[in-house]
Amino acid sequence: MSSRSRASATTIVALALVLGACDREERHSRAKPIGETVPAGQSPDTIWPGGKQPPPLDPRAKLYDNNANAIAQGQQLYMQMNCVGCHFHGGGGMGPPLMDDQWRYGGRIDQIAASIAEGRPNGMPSWRGKLTDDQIWDLAAYVRTLSGQPSKDAVSARSEEMSTTTPATLTPREPAHTSDAAQP
């Protein structure tokens, strides 16, 4: 094999490896098979006051965190379900801001999903049963982009709808709180 053909073979292998890494937008429109329902009470509150350690990260998190499709769907739902009405575009109004590093009930994606599903005191309604679990996780994935948590290749430089806000790729990342860190 000449060095030239060896070089081109290496390039092809390298390209195949690079293509294999394209999981930025894995779509799973049917989140769970028919008939398989989540038993009630499997998504408990994840409020962990004081120094107590929170439970390990929900395994579903990796389906939604850093997933471009989930983030885009969540962004549409954020407008459609009128999250904007209280939280604005992350700046907060009647509801707390979502673009800073302050999380009353945890800033991990499963903690945010639990807050959306269960509702929280002083105004946050419960969306369990009003949205599907899949949609709630999509929303949680989008909420994390407001404080710049997902990797920059997962968020879009252009939002799904017409918008004059700064692209999500330019959102600075707020530090994660140590109390939210998942136990291995």
Binding site: I34, T37, G129, Q135, E160
Partner: protein
């Protein structure tokens, strides 16, 4: 000519005839003023162009034969046409035919545009069609606000009445195309386009999104129902009524699920607490001809669509909820009462 190419030539006109056999969706349908004017223009263009084409071919053949016959004797002379009176008058005649043909096409085109534009300002009804991935939201507005009507995927029009259709989009570019009635017009997010439809035939026609708009672009169809004016007014009055109350335990269970479950987050049913604006209005769902802008409305399709929309129209905003069988029976039974 071989037999195969001969049969192919025979099959071609049959295939093109196939494009128009269906009255339901046809670019040669004469069901609206738009298509009628356009078909007349198309016929004139076809005749003029066919005559010109045949003339050019005839001259070409004559030239080839003449050259072959006389090639041996004729010495090339650069300006020989000036000396040949027959050639001279022939060329003048040819120029005249070309000019007359072009003028005829320009005049025909001008009058077609004029007759299309002449209905502007005479419209008696306005409808707003909003494109969504992947369905059509339809709003009729009248002077009286209480007569405003919301429906989806089914456009009713009175025959012979010019209607102004406003076209908007909520997400991406779509294109409104009812080939039997008129040409295409795009629906562009952030803009409002409009067109005038003048239906001339009573009947049911099919429309289709004509601009690729995502994974389920093919399943974005529209039914246009052209009625007599009386029937149209009757339809409108019926559509303004609110949904009936559930009358038996099964439909009551369905009603309760629809109101408390995820359905009412996106859909609205007039006369009930369901007031979502994301999905199609369901007030008179069972009176429509199609479901989900793609399937005929019937019980089987309703069951399938509600249980697992993502396997029928993957990527649409209607989520697969995973209803239990008893919930599904109840929801379908309730939706079927929404006549």
């Amino acid at each position: 000519m071989t037999r195969r190419s001969g049969s192919a030539l025979l099959a071609l006109p049959l295939l093109t005839a196939g494009c128009s056999y269906q009255h339901y969706q046809s670019t040669f349908g004469n069901a609206g003023d738009g298509t009628r004017h356009f078909n007349t223009l198309f016929t004139i263009f076809l005749i003029v162009c066919a005559v010109m084409y045949l003339a050019v071919i005839a001259f070409l053949l004559a030239g080839i034969l003449r050259r072959r016959r006389a090639a041996a004797n004729i010495v090339e002379e650069s300006r020989h046409h000036e000396s040949d009176p027959l050639m001279r008058s022939g060329l003048i005649g040819w120029g005249a035919v070309v000019s007359i043909g072009l003028v005829a096409l320009a005049v025909a085109s001008f009058f077609t545009d004029r007759s299309d534009a002449s209905v502007a300002g005479k419209e008696k009804l306005s409808v707003t069609v909003t494109g969504n991935q992947w369905w059509w939201d339809i709003t009729y507005t009248a002077g009286d606000v209480s007569k405003t009507l919301h429906t989806a995927n089914e456009l009713h029009l009175p025959v012979g009445v010019p209607v102004r259709v406003f076209l908007k989009s909520n997400d991406v570019i779509h294109s409104f195309w009812v080939p039997s009635l008129a040409g295409k017009q795009d629906l562009i997010p952030g803009r409002q386009n409009d067109m005038i439809l003048v239906p001339r035939k009573i009947g049911i026609f099919r429309g289709q999104c004509a601009e690729f708009c995502g994974a389920q672009h093919a399943k974005m169809a529209l039914v246009v129902d052209v009625d007599s004016y009386g029937d149209f007014v009757k339809w409108w009055e019926h559509q303004l009524q609110t949904a009936p109350q559930p009358s038996n335990p099964l439909t009551l269970a369905g009603y309760k699920y629809v109101m408390s479950g995820p359905c009412s987050s996106c859909h609205s049913i007039a006369g009930t607490p369901a007031n979502g604006t994301i999905g199609p209005d369901l007030t008179h769902l069972a009176s429509r001809r199609t479901l989900a802008a793609a399937m005929p409305m019937n019980e089987g399709n309703l069951y399938g669509w509600i249980e697992d929309p993502q396997s029928i129209k993957g990527g649409s905003h209607m989520p697969t909820i995973g209803l239990e069988p008893n919930q599904l029976h109840a929801v379908v039974a309730y939706l079927e009462t929404l006549k």
